[in-house]
């Protein structure tokens, strides 16, 4: 069990991931909203949102499990210690890195996608390693930085709890609609 972070840290980290992933999902949904509202009814719009939020929940669970796995494999100083802070930073930097890719991906053909995605994943892997090493150096040296991140996490977790409820209600809705 020592190879896993504290339970509280895991929960906080999960709520942080939920917040980041759901916020991106909501931004994309709102980006599409003017087009959607011209074409589908309000009830269908809410229904579509339920599927979008459900996919955000699934993605958050998968990312949380992947990070836990990474924490299990790596030495404690790289990820397990201050787990919530490190996952928050990793996630935010990854999302910042990934946004331009998503803005341009709809315009890419299949062949372009293959070329771009391999470079993208390679660069992302390098970036993750650099980030892990960098956090290892920065976080213990600058307690104020860490304290600031912890404060952010405390606030984010409230939003994370709201998203969790919304995601769960989406899961219930999709389940009832399709398998009742």
């Amino acid at each position: 069990m020592k190879r896993f972070p504290e339970k509280q840290e895991i929960i906080k980290s999960f709520l942080v991931i939920l917040t980041v992933i759901n916020s991106w999902a909501v931004i994309v949904f709102l980006y599409n909203f003017p087009g959607l509202i011209k074409q589908i009814t309000i009830s269908d719009l809410i229904s579509v949102l339920a599927y979008v939020l459900l996919s955000a929940l699934i993605e958050s669970v998968i990312i949380s499990l992947a990070l836990l796995g990474l924490g299990f494999l790596l030495p404690a100083k790289f990820l397990r210690t201050d787990y919530a802070v490190r996952t928050l930073l990793l996630l935010i930097l990854s999302v910042i890195y990934i946004i331009p890719f998503h803005i341009y991906i709809p315009r890419l053909s299949t062949l372009m996608f293959e070329a771009v995605v391999s470079i993208f994943i390679a660069m992302w892997s390098v970036l993750l390693i650099v980030e892990l090493v960098l956090f290892h150096k920065i976080i213990p040296r600058y307690p104020k930085f860490k304290a600031g991140a912890v404060k952010i996490i405390d606030r984010i977790t409230v939003l994370g709890a709201i998203y969790f409820f919304l995601d769960l209600s989406s899961l219930i809705y999709v389940t009832i609609t399709n398998w009742s």
């Binding site: 074409q39 589908i40 993605e59 990934i98 991906i105 993208f120 399709n178």
Partner: protein, 516 residues
């Protein structure tokens, strides 16, 4: 603290209820056999075969120089052939909904990529009309049509799952979200990202897309001898194989309870054009279609780029022709030619001209709207040709006629020539409507509408930034390639046509929401 807890709980309660509120009632679970009386055994069958994106302008039967469909020409010898048949729109939602509801897009409102018809048409369609007397069955390989068919499912005895007929899908919506297909489809499209959306799922979408691409490349390697170039791809992660589709269809026809009204909507020859190897070397000729002026709404595809694409499309059509002939042979072997109406058509065409490729655009030239329509009547042994302009909206009233049903007043079409006793009005205007960008629930304010009043065709663009109010006029008899726009030189010439067209749009806008 207490106040905060109370507020949050109340807020969450409300949010929990939000997705459940306002959604239409769940799927009716009453079996269709209890809703409708049993089929009448003496009725002739009706089999619809719709091949997506098949332009009449690329079919040899309709004068195309390449012999793309020799088997269809043989079938035509025992059928009614409609030489001037036109789609309700220039792409799947508008074209298919016009066929299935007998109304134009300004009425059924399936105009955009959110392809459901308006609620009042959920029980005004081909299946609703034929269900009491027939075993109704429907199958499609096009997700936009599936969305529509799911709306009509209460009237379809056998709505066949998309994955049964040679379609392989890695997407969950084709199996898991079947009770709520439209929302599930669009929810997944937003999560995954499409050609118009960035993905709402930032990491999994890339993983998914990568897995789809790896799978596609593996299939390409394994099937290179059969499909030298492309494998037909409906969406990322969804592939369809025409030969498997046809094999499935042969079994399906043998096993469908009779009398049946079955609607089969196949993806071929839709892009990506993926003919099998045996058709890959066809049309290695010097054929060059006339070069036409580049349109304002060009997507940048130039003449030289479009030539090989056209050739691949023609090869794919030849492939469709070959495989569809196997179906006709089976129908003949089963003796069904004697007791079956066989309807062969498409939902819209494809463009390879004016710098406009494929069909997701704003133009309504003949390659996009001129579609095939052949109808074999039970026991028919001779060919009948009809050159009067007809529309996809005429098919449903014709079905009413042959099944002895009264034609509902909401239908905008007329019974096709060859099925009616009254003389045909040669001056009846027919329409095609393109309004992807228009508000589904509002009047037409940004659209392209084409009207054919033989021999003239008037095209009206309105509401676009580039063409806010524009007309083009062609004489299809003298200028079938639509090269000579008569409008700029003599707008007065078109005055009568223009007033008819504008009055029709105005009337359609006034009628909005009045269909009950």
């Amino acid at each position: 603290m207490e106040k905060q807890n109370f507020d949050r709980r109340e807020f969450l309660k409300l949010l929990l209820m939000l997705p459940l509120a306002g959604k239409r009632s769940p799927t009716r679970i009453t079996p269709n056999s209890l809703l409708y009386p049993a089929a009448q055994p003496d009725q002739p069958n009706i089999l619809f075969f719709l091949f997506d994106t098949l332009s009449a302008r690329n079919i040899s039967l309709h004068g195309y120089p390449r012999e793309t469909m020799p088997n269809l020409a043989r079938f035509a010898e025992k059928a009614n052939v409609y030489h001037q048949h036109h789609a309700g729109g220039n792409w799947t939602p508008s074209g298919t909904a016009s066929l299935l509801t007998g109304t134009y897009p300004w009425t059924h409102r399936s105009m955009s990529i959110y392809s459901e018809v308006i609620e009042s048409f959920a029980d005004k369609n081909l299946f609703h009309i034929t269900n009491p007397d027939y075993h109704t069955a429907a199958y499609t390989q096009n997700f936009l049509v599936e969305t529509m068919l799911q709306q009509f499912k209460d009237q379809i005895d056998d709505l066949i799952n998309m994955t049964e007929g040679g379609l392989y899908s890695s997407r969950p919506d084709s199996d898991l979200f079947i009770n709520d297909f439209g929302s599930g489809f669009w929810g997944q499209n937003i999560a995954q990202g499409t050609w118009i959306f960035p993905a709402s799922s930032p990491f999994l979408s890339i993983l998914n897309e990568t897995l789809y691409t790896i799978k596609y490349r593996r299939m390409q390697r394994e099937l290179k001898d059969i499909y030298p170039d492309w494998i037909s791809m409906v969406l990322p992660g969804v592939h369809v194989f025409l030969d498997e589709t046809i094999s499935w269809l042969l079994d399906q026809i043998k096993n469908t309870p009779l009398p049946t009204m079955s609607y089969y909507h196949f993806f071929a020859p839709h892009h990506p054009y993926s003919p099998r190897a045996e058709f890959y070397h066809l049309f290695d000729d010097d054929f060059k279609p006339p070069e036409k002026p580049i349109h304002t709404f060009t997507d940048g595809s130039n003449y030289d780029f479009l030539l090989p694409e056209r050739r691949a499309y023609d090869q794919f059509i030849a492939n469709v022709d070959h495989d569809f002939n196997l179906v006709l042979e089976l129908i003949d072997e089963l003796g069904m030619m004697e007791n079956t109406y066989i309807i062969f058509t498409s939902d819209h065409g494809e463009s390879f001209e004016r710098g406009v490729w494929k069909h997701t655009n704003r133009v309504l030239y003949e390659p996009l709207t001129h579609i095939p329509l052949l109808i074999h009547k039970p026991g028919q042994t001779t060919r009948e040709d009809f050159f009067t302009p007809t529309s996809a909206v005429d098919v449903l009233p014709t079905i009413c006629e042959i099944t002895g049903k009264p034609i509902p007043e909401w239908i905008e079409g007329e019974v096709l020539p060859g099925f009616r006793t009254e003389p045909v009005d040669l001056q009846r205007p027919i329409f095609s409507v393109e309004a992807k960008e228009n508000n589904k629930f509002g009047p037409l304010t940004i659209a392209t509408v084409a009207m054919i009043k033989w021999p003239y065709k008037l095209i009206h663009y309105f509401g676009y930034e580039e063409l806010p109010y524009h007309f083009e006029l062609y004489n299809l008899e003298q200028d079938p390639e639509e090269l000579n726009d008569l409008y700029p030189a003599s707008p007065h010439y078109a005055a009568d046509l223009k007033s008819t067209l504008l009055a029709k749009i105005e009337q359609a806008n006034k009628n909005l929401g009045k269909i009950n």
